[in-house]
Symmetry: C2
Subunit: 189 residues, 2 copies
């Protein structure tokens, strides 16, 4: 594609030097693609769950969904396999600067992460404070511990600082969250 020279340059700079404006989902999709290509892990985002009501079948290939609704997800958004272990997580962004509102995660998603842990899997939460451009990894054990020992409806940023791990922006992989999994679950290897 041809862009006017100035536009192309701006676009390049944006991609190379700054992560601002890129969504967490976009960064995680790039990261997971990198992990798959380099054969480090097989992790995918699940499709958005919807209820389909009406479909126009002009042909088998050209079916158009004409009416559908978003469903509440029963599970988390991402799962897969890493170092022979089942891995499962939810990712959320907040514009809030001091805390992460728990209303952002459904209670059955938290129950799901608890179950995964019980069954010997790896479960965690990735939270981005987008206004501050800070991204944290919080293991499901620490998430559940917070919920079970607090009555408040939000997790302070400080809790992520104290019990979570900061994930720094990088070039490739974009957000190396498996480096944190290595520290917590595989003794830093």
């Amino acid at each position: 594609m041809n862009y006017p020279a100035g536009v192309k340059k701006t676009k390049c700079n944006m991609v190379q030097y700054s992560n601002r404006g890129m969504s967490l989902e976009h960064d995680l999709n790039e990261t997971n693609e990198f992990y798959r290509i380099s054969n480090r892990a097989i992790i995918y985002k699940k499709p958005t769950p919807i209820t389909i009501v009406k479909v126009d079948y002009k042909s088998r290939i050209d079916a158009v969904i004409k009416e559908a609704y978003f469903k509440t997800p029963s599970t988390t958004d991402y799962n897969g396999i890493y170092k022979e272990k089942y891995l499962d997580f939810e990712a959320k962004e907040t514009k809030n600067k001091t805390f992460f509102p728990l209303a952002n995660i459904h209670s059955h998603q938290i129950e799901h992460l608890k179950k995964i842990r019980e069954h010997g899997g790896i479960g965690f939460l990735i939270v981005r404070f987008s206004t501050l451009n800070l991204t944290y990894f919080l293991d499901s054990s620490k998430l559940v511990e917070f919920i079970e020992t607090n009555t408040r409806k939000s997790i302070p940023l400080q809790y992520f600082e104290d019990y979570g791990y900061r994930i720094f922006d990088n070039y490739n992989p974009r957000l190396d969250y498996l480096a944190v999994v290595d520290i917590i679950y595989f003794g830093g290897k």
Copy 2:
């Protein structure tokens, strides 16, 4: 709900004594729900992948998808965790009575099952010959072996008989495919 007596009875009989007419997907969803409730495994069907083009936002709750398209799935339909292992499978029905056409599975789904195996996970295929009411479990190793040693574009029923495991209809769980996983991966325990 109130049904005329005769209709209710017919419905009851159908549910209790016969599986014919129930789709494989329906049976697997019931089975997975049973596994989850009994805490034996945490396995879900992934939502159907779609590309959303147009959404009407009357309110956040009442958003209606007005235009969307089905996408080719990158992975298999089902995954989860069983006995601390990552488990992943695809399920397909065919009306054919003598063979399973390989066109029913996308090549990248087969590649995905190969990768899962490489990474230490459990991968397999469940195929129902719906006209014969026969359901088989075929481990991904046997699926890949067939593809790599044959040029034909379909797997004969006999191959499932010889290298797969028949899964019998049951009451609860409906299709106890984890019993086969136990035989293959956990020494029958």
